[in-house]
């Protein structure tokens, strides 16, 4: 139980995917116009990530090393198509909103990165824990950014108006630049918090996380 919990919780804070590992940024920026969309995308990623970790961990011994990446891609693509179909059948407006980013889950570095870095090396229960944790962390962050942008850009949260009377929304927050600015400021706040915490404990300030190939590990490039 102990290692299971450890792998699960690391995705929730210590290695929170978009903020700490700076991974899989395309959907983080693209679909977070509202909290609803963020949550929907997050749910899709949880589904794909957990199941792909499970399957890859199951078959990790029979996959030849040379076609490893191709097999991982085929497995995650299958799951993505399944999500596409399910979303069309039961949440069509969400499917319309997310548009091209549903099929693009397949090229999200998070999926391949976790497959390569974790699921291909660990037993099934741990792989599931890792997938669930990372997926939940991802969904959480997406919902958070979506909520923030929706609140500032339109004054609503999950479609309900909650700001005060006469609130002038920042229209730019729901436009393309707002996504970049919002994520940049959130990362900045997180860094500031980390620095403050480290100073309080009397340690040297930690390095800011960088987006880098190292954390993706989908190929040998970042070695």
């Amino acid at each position: 139980m102990q290692p299971f919990l450890k792998e699960f919780t690391k995705g929730l804070w210590k290695e929170l995917p978009p903020f700490r590992l700076v991974l899989g940024l395309c959907p983080v920026l693209a679909v977070t116009k509202s909290a609803d969309n963020g949550l929907g995308m997050g749910a899709a990623v949880i589904f794909v990530l957990t199941l792909s970790n499970l399957i890859i961990s199951l078959v990790r011994h029979i996959i030849p090393k040379k076609v490893r990446i191709a097999c991982f891609i085929a497995i995650s693509a299958t799951l993505v198509v399944a999500v596409e179909l399910l979303m069309q059948a039961y949440a069509y407006p969400l499917y319309q909103q997310l548009g091209i980013f549903v099929p693009l889950i397949v090229v999200n570095c998070l999926i391949l990165g976790r497959a390569e870095a974790f699921a291909a090396k660990n037993p099934v229960p741990l792989a599931i824990a890792d997938g669930l944790g990372m997926g939940m962390g991802f969904a959480m962050s997406l919902t958070f950014i979506g909520g923030l942008r929706e609140l500032l850009g339109a004054g609503t949260l999950f479609g309900k108006y909650i700001m005060w009377e006469g609130f002038q929304p920042f229209a730019v927050m729901v436009e393309a630049p707002g996504a970049f600015l919002c994520l940049g400021l959130i990362l900045c706040a997180m860094n500031a918090f980390n620095h403050w915490q480290a100073r309080r404990k009397g340690q040297d300030a930690p390095e800011n996380p960088m987006p880098g190939c190292e954390s993706c590990r989908a190929c040998s490039h970042g070695k």
Partner: protein
Amino acid sequence: MRDILKMLVVLSAICSISGFALSYLKMITAIPIEEQVLTYVQGPAIQKVFSDVDNSPVADRKKFTLSDGRTITLFPAIKNGRLTGVAMENSGKGFGGDIGVMTAFNPHNDTLLGIGITTMKETPGIGTVIFEPRFTDQFSGKDLKNVAPKAQGGSFDAISGATVSSVGAISAVSNATKDYLELKPEILNTWK
């Protein structure tokens, strides 16, 4: 060689398993997907062309077969137990692909009730003007004799600057008119 063989077998096996699983999933989800598409893609256009109905046109839809073998789905509008209109989707060629147009007819006096655009892939800002009332409103109440752009001797204006898209939408309406005239006796038999 053994290596290559193993590679081939594993990759093909994974692909065929996924093909199998996905086609089953597709069969299971086919019906809900159709419902959802009708509700969210055709639904708004139908609501636009039928302003005042008692029934749900999507739920009461029926398939009809044309003489050339095509099948077409018709959406009836019923008010006070009486058929007040019937709508069908048809498409015409636009600049960047097909334009889907929902056309509604009044079966009692053979006039157009109105049109609504369902799907289109036009240049943003240009072709999309055909969504606007200044294009769509000109159809309501017109009779079915001259469904063509004015340039071809018809009675409808094409929006300048979006000629291709307007002509595409008008040709969709004229296709729908042909199908409607062919099916009219059947329609009147089905719904009173």
